[in-house]
Subunit: 454 residues, 2 copies
């Protein structure tokens, strides 16, 4: 094993261990600051447009936190240079977060037990000292590969609608933006993917990219290893089950609730209704693109989307929210108690109490933050409660969908949403650092289940 890798690992570990919340916060703040300066350059905006400092901070924060809420229309307001700045922020923010959260989840936890390390080594099939470098390389390799494939496929589709230069440019932008679950688009007039409402290719490609970006690196790696190992980690099983459940249940409920809504699905044929339902079921978790106007949806659907945004993506991904595993642990804990079971069991694995406590922590912390932000925004913004709740949840869960409030936000409202995007992005991760898992006791009924929360 080369010595320099060893040294790098120890240095990185001690640097990150020093104060990861501070490191992360400063890191993200610096990226946003750089983005603000670049976006404030006159060449970043189209002629006749002027970006205020607050809107520059908002846009840079939204891109870096891969949220996708926009106060100005990305496509028509910014120049091509501005678009590349935004895309760079998305790439650095999204990929950076994916790498960091995967690293934290796997290597950086305080009190990581030997047993956990062994499980991780087995799962990632790599040596623990060299692990961190390999892991980062692997995450970046996966992300770039998927982005390249996505961009190529979008480009091929866009060639039918525009010249080759623009098709490539749009292909790359949307491939990167949608894989990173950033929610930014270039189509103008805040209309996201609505031009492709009835296009199965764009819809399905977007659904797959959002899925690959939000499912988390750990699951991707596990799926790649599956043909060889013929089994999945508990973590992957939980993530995939919850993702499938929420996707299907969400799509069915959206289809039912919007079927006769003349402002959304009613004018479409059944196939297109189904396509739109699927897209709007996965997009809140946390892709942020849409093909119909969410503000025209029925209240029940909007509330469902708020719920889907709150649950969000999976650990080690670019997405936000409380995460699928947190959701699963809370539900399974509830069912176990109702049935009077002493152990909380997921896929024949017993969950130790620290996992359950973590799940509570993320959920209650997120709820408290969301409730507080919604209350404050209710005071600063003169809009319906649902509009405000939707916006706050979207910002906190880095989802990026909006009922149209974002461009109309007051300055105070913009400041609150910026803070919410920032905290929402860093929150669970920095929380989790403090909440590292402890070695379980050796009192086995089922074998202990290892699962990452948040």
């Amino acid at each position: 094993m080369p010595d320099e890798v060893n040294v790098l690992y120890i240095k990185a570990k001690s640097w990150l261990n020093a104060s990861p919340p501070r490191t992360l916060t400063i890191g993200f703040a610096l990226i946003i600051a750089a983005g603000v300066l670049l976006l404030k350059l006159p060449i970043s905006v189209r002629e006749g447009h002027d970006l205020s400092w607050l809107d520059a901070v908002f846009t840079a924060a939204s891109a870096t936190c891969v949220t996708g809420l926009v106060v100005v229309d990305t496509g028509t307001f910014f120049s091509t240079f501005g678009h590349w700045v935004i895309l760079a922020l998305i790439q650095v923010g999204g990929l950076g977060f994916m790498t960091m959260s995967t690293m934290f989840a796997f290597f950086m936890r305080r009190r990581l037990s030997l047993k956990e390390r062994l499980i991780l080594q087995e799962a990632l099939n790599q040596d623990s000292l060299q692990g961190i470098v390999k892991l980062v390389r692997k995450v970046i390799f996966y992300a770039l590969t998927i982005e390249a494939a996505g961009s190529l496929l979008y480009t091929l589709r866009f060639l039918f609608d525009m010249n080759a230069g623009k098709a490539i440019y749009y292909g790359i932008f949307h491939g990167v933006s949608i894989f990173n679950n950033a929610g930014f688009d270039l189509f103008g007039d805040y209309r996201s993917l609505s031009d492709y409402l009835s296009d199965p290719f764009v819809n399905l490609l977007s659904i797959v990219l959002i899925f690959l970006g939000s499912v988390g690196f750990i699951v991707l790696a596990d799926l790649v290893e599956y043909p060889k190992r013929r089994r999945l980690m508990l973590h992957s099983k939980v993530v995939l089950t919850v993702t499938a459940f929420l996707f299907i249940a969400g799509a069915v409920l959206i289809l039912i609730c919007e079927y006769t809504n003349e402002n959304t699905l009613d004018p479409l044929n059944f196939g297109d209704k189904f396509l739109a339902s699927m897209l709007h079921s996965i997009s809140p978790r946390s892709g942020g693109v849409s093909t119909v106007d969410v503000s025209s949806m029925r209240q029940a659907t909007q509330f469902l989307i708020v719920g889907l945004m709150f649950v969000g993506a999976s650990p080690g991904s670019t997405g936000g929210g409380i995460k699928t595993t947190t959701f699963a642990v809370m539900i399974v804990a509830m069912l176990a108690v109702i049935r009077g079971k002493e152990d909380i069991v997921l896929f024949r694995s017993r969950l130790e109490k620290d996992k359950v406590y973590k799940a509570i922590t993320v959920t209650i912390y997120s709820l408290a933050l969301l409730i507080a932000a919604t209350m404050i925004l209710s005071v600063t913004e003169n809009h319906t409660f649902m509009t405000v709740l939707f916006e706050a949840t979207s910002a906190f869960a880095t989802a990026g969908l909006s009922m149209g409030l974002t461009p109309e936000l007051t300055d105070a409202g913009k400041a609150i949403v910026i803070v919410l995007m920032f905290i929402g992005r860093l929150g669970p991760l920095t929380l989790f650092y403090a909440a590292g898992s402890k070695p379980g006791r050796t009192l086995y009924r089922h074998p202990e289940g290892k699962i990452l929360i948040g």
Copy 2:
């Protein structure tokens, strides 16, 4: 010890143990059915009024579940006979539930450990076999004493506004209704206590009665014993701390949010503003009376009240919601995890994981039910999301406040609210039966804390 008490105890225990959820459900359903039949009698309503079957079920369910949501105006719609029927339903439902929930909490749990029994005996200072009879007597004695005092004080106040007969009648009705946190009133036009907006006597008396009714028998008994024992049970400390915190924080936030609202507090002098803020801080948990129109409040205040209703009252009381202790356990668990502590400690007592799991169960179960009900009501009712969320929370938490939706509910909406009141009333209790506490392991750091959830 007399033999018949022994036999009674064993019989009662085996009857309740057989299937308490079924017993409770059937018991409440029978009381409601009796109420419906009585309310449908022509002598129950004033001349010229006709009560539909659905409205009779709604009213009987609301009274029996001590919720206080009303589809027809209690004061002007029903005759004096109808008022006594409603009051009887409140007394039987409220006191019955208080007795049952106290009994369940103390004696009826599956796997109740010897240590827990000893703690309970110490706390209640009574023998465990005779306990159940004494306990029921004690609960009823406390309730009737407080109701008598409350009724007398209301009567004395109402003598200034009406003739003696009506003052006594109104005094008894409101003394019983408000202690039972039932939220029913006789003042007409759905205006609750708004005639007494600026009356310190009625406001403070109502606040005290709501507090005594919602704090739970266990805490009342503990407080009565306090001068002798000079210490409080953990349960009482938690309940009183959370109650005080929510009362003060709620009042301050309401005062701030509504201070300049010309439809609520703005026209009042500071003393009256303060009085109204206090009443509307405690009333959601879960008294259900009001002196200003909650539908005129700002959205932030309404959302705060939704939160207060959701938390609700304390175990072993007439009130609903997830309960103060559940709220406390969730918050303390979150803080412990964020601080990286291994144990969850409340007042120097460690909480075993089954308590924490129960708290999750109640919270997630309640949230899930509330979200589902809100979604369905969003479809059936053509009202703003806040109005619907407020109504659903109020019904589920048996709070009884309304933004005015109740009398305008569609038939489907009424049916949903009836089910929600019923499930909300029985839910946590029947859940808890299945979720009886288990003896803790003997691995002490702090002494184990005993606290009732839900």
